[in-house]
Symmetry: C2
Subunit: 246 residues, 2 copies
DNA sequence: GGTATAATAGACTGATGGTCTATTTTAGCC
DNA sequence: GGCTAAAATAGACCATCAGTCTATTATACC
């Protein structure tokens, strides 16, 4: 039992990250198309072309796979936004607007593929996955928002007694917007979409004014998106998703 | 094959509702304590003391059981609130405040048992259940809110261009409040709770002022809860949940 | 080439949601 | 009370799932 090893000890450090990333790619597609519950582990490993033993070498469980996927989503979402905080040439309001613009308009318009994935997160079958990503994302996103709002409060741009609370509201509005957009896109026909666009455009205006007033700013200070951008986003998305089969 | 029946045809109408309700009771306890996923169908039928055949006579699937439970929750939540809309002696602001008070303070303080159940909905394992209930609840709750806000807009009490949007925001705030309360209660020790109470009290004030401003009301018009009520609720809940084993 | 470990394969397991067939209970009708 | 058809119930059975276990191959270092 007590094998007195001769201490030859080769230490091997490989690159399991690559395999993990590859697995996450396959899992992402399957989880988002079928939902976390409906996509079985066998589906994932079949898609990746590996055995069960290999999978469990890289991930402790299906749950761990989900967690890793959520973390990767959050990391990617955060990456495009980090620079704004570091930019010293922006005042707090511009910074907040830049953050909002970046996290919606820019991202949506420049990367419809990424948005296509994000949008499926709002489908009911992806509830679990969405929740995980949401947790991971707001854990890293909220502090950025709080920091910006705090700066604004300190230099007098914003007026509020609860920066964390306002940050939370901003996150809530952001999620609600995504939700409405996703519902509209996945929803009914073109006539429905016209109505949805109108509703959403109005909603975005409401959120803007609400944030203005909550932060003690004059109406029209906060810009979540230009007028007409909802239509642009949604027609663009419609075009993209039209080419896909189920 | 073609049995030419003599058309004796007895028609039997029983009361399957009772059995269904009973099953929902057992499912409610199990789903809320263990979570929807972790509570197996066998657990449910064992708890109810019936066979699988009997269960599938009343419900098409485990999913259908969840749906029915969510509907019942929503129905119960709505029941206590219906009267407010019918009360002709209230102006829109009082009506909105009454609705907010009813759906929080009153409900919480008068029925800690009900709230204890509700609170567990926010635990991560109950995500699916919560989402269903939330859907069912807002489907019936939102129209009430919209109606009240519309009345207020018509008679000039409220000023907004998007009553549906404001109703959505009210729902969002309500959910966020529940969420924070639940996290604080299920969270750490008494010291943490003191901090949580402070945060939440501040958050409630923020939501109140936010709604005031969104609706064009003077600050202090909307009352979600009296100052100090958060502490009362949370200490009351702590006492209740302290007596329970896991 | 020897060796310890990383990596992989895939049969196997226990539990789960759901199905199926068989049996008992219920309720109207003569 | 007997006849009948449906309602209600029981529980064996099934396919599928996440996860385990043992066996085998590949790799990197000596």
């Amino acid at each position: 039992m007590i094998a007195c090893r001769k201490f030859v000890m080769p230490r091997v450090i490989k690159h399991p990250e690559l395999r993990r990333e590859e697995l996450l790619d396959h899992a992402q597609v399957l989880f988002l198309t079928r939902g976390y519950d409906k996509a079985s582990l066998n589906d994932v490993i079949a898609s990746a072309g590996i055995s069960k033993g290999a999978f469990y070498h890289y991930f402790a469980s299906k749950e761990a796979l989900l967690e890793a996927l959520a973390e990767r989503f959050a990391r990617q979402a955060l990456a495009g936004v980090k620079g704004i905080l570091g930019d010293p040439g922006l005042d707090p309001l511009a910074r907040l607007n830049a953050l909002l613009a970046q996290s919606r308009q820019a991202k949506i318009e420049t990367a419809p593929e990424a948005w296509a994935l994000f949008e499926t997160l709002f489908r009911p079958e992806n509830l679990v996955l969405f929740h995980r990503i949401n947790l991971a994302a707001s854990a890293s996103f909220s502090p950025l928002l709080v920091k910006i709002i705090r700066q604004g409060v300190e230099d007098g741009t914003f007026r509020t007694f609860d920066p964390e609370g306002v940050a939370d509201i901003v996150m809530q509005f952001g999620m609600a917007t995504h939700d409405v957009v996703a519902k509209a896109i996945t929803g009914g026909g073109d006539a429905d979409m016209e109505i949805a666009i109108e509703v959403l455009e109005k909603r975005v205006r409401l959120y803007e004014i609400a944030l203005d007033r909550i932060l003690g700013l004059p109406d029209g200070s906060i810009r979540i998106g230009e007028p007409g951008y909802v239509r642009a986003v949604m027609t663009a998305r419609r075009r993209t998703s039209a080419g896909k089969a189920q």
